[in-house]
């Protein structure tokens, strides 16, 4: 059954994901090729088959482009990842230090606003931690010119692997899954930082030609 293939559009999330990894010189050709084959397949075999094919191509294409991105500039990418790792070590302790400083300075305020203090000490701290990770992701992406996602993905994988290993030890000792969730969220936030920078850069390079 072919459901209105003439209006078929490739999955948006898949298109967005693949665009994050495409080098500037292939910025039109790869999405164009995927779109062309998707349209052809949708009219021949139906949208479901075409969507499934598109997702498969997206995953494989991202794997190849990420590998290629690293091979093209291994040293600059590694430098960006190491810099991000060190920056992460510095940034991850900041929310605690800031909260401790704020508590000491405004002791009378916190004593009358205990709920606000509790929010800052729990959810607020978690949010601040994630904002810090997004900031690290953005910084790494800005330094890794044209290879934003490769650098942030590598950093996220390295930190994620180390963090998950440590969290599993913690989980075995205490049964607390909070640390594990925090490590996964950290890696995701770093990737989001890279995606923000990449999306803004792509928009900046495509806008003038559309005008």
């Amino acid at each position: 059954m072919k459901s209105q293939p003439e209006f078929a559009q490739p999955p948006r999330i898949a298109t967005w994901l693949v665009n994050l990894f495409i080098p500037a010189e292939d910025g039109e050709s790869i999405p164009g090729d995927l779109h062309e084959e998707f349209s052809h397949l949708a009219s021949k075999s139906g949208i479901a088959v075409a969507r499934s094919w598109y997702w498969r191509q997206t995953v494989k294409t991202i794997a190849h482009l990420a590998g290629m991105g690293f091979r093209v500039a291994p040293w600059s990418t590694t430098a960006a990842v190491v810099g991000g790792f060190l920056l992460m070590r510095f940034v991850s302790g900041l929310p605690d230090k800031l909260l401790a400083a704020a508590t000491d300075r405004y002791l009378t305020y916190w004593s009358t606003h205990f709920k606000a203090y509790m929010f800052c000490a729990t959810d607020g701290m978690f949010i601040a931690h994630l904002v810090g990770s997004v900031f690290v992701g953005c910084t790494v992406a800005l330094t890794a010119k044209k290879r934003e996602m490769v650098a942030t993905m590598t950093l996220a994988l390295v930190l994620g692997a180390l963090g998950i290993a440590a969290s599993l030890v913690w989980l075995a000792k205490t049964g607390d899954v909070w640390m594990l969730a925090l490590q996964c969220a950290d890696s995701f936030a770093i990737l989001m930082g890279g995606a923000i920078v990449r999306t803004r850069r792509s928009a900046a390079t495509t806008l003038p030609s559309n005008a």
């Binding site: 080098p23 050709s29 164009g32 995927l34 062309e36 084959e37 052809h40 494989k60 294409t61 482009l65």
Partner: protein, 110 residues
């Protein structure tokens, strides 16, 4: 002897696909040609990663076509094998012929 100048297996296949397709060689046709003849699923990312590498080695060159509606208004990137690329593929073919000469490959290890 240095391995520099020799084509890898997938590079070899890509160059042969470009030679077969002549002036119709762009991402979609190259990918489909390889799938049709090798019976293995190939991603568009693998095709472009290899084509970009071949271009940086000077074995292929590319130019842009016009945008078309069926591609969401995006242009095609056509590829062509250079004289250096043809020499490289001839060298790879000759090496393969020399290595397989005298071997009875059909059913030799079945």
């Amino acid at each position: 002897m240095s391995g520099r100048g020799y084509l890898g297996e997938f590079e070899h296949i890509i160059v042969l696909a470009l030679l077969r397709l002549e002036d119709r060689a762009y991402g979609v046709t190259v990918r489909q040609e390889i799938e049709l003849r090798t019976k293995r699923e190939v991603s568009i990312g693998a095709v472009y990663a290899t084509l970009d590498r071949l271009e940086s080695k000077g074995y292929v060159k590319s130019h842009r076509g016009d945008p078309t509606p069926e591609r969401g208004g995006r242009s095609k990137r056509f590829f062509q094998v250079t004289a250096k690329g043809i020499k490289a593929v001839n060298r790879a073919q000759r090496a393969l012929r020399n290595m397989t000469a005298g071997l009875d490959l059909i059913g030799s290890h079945s």
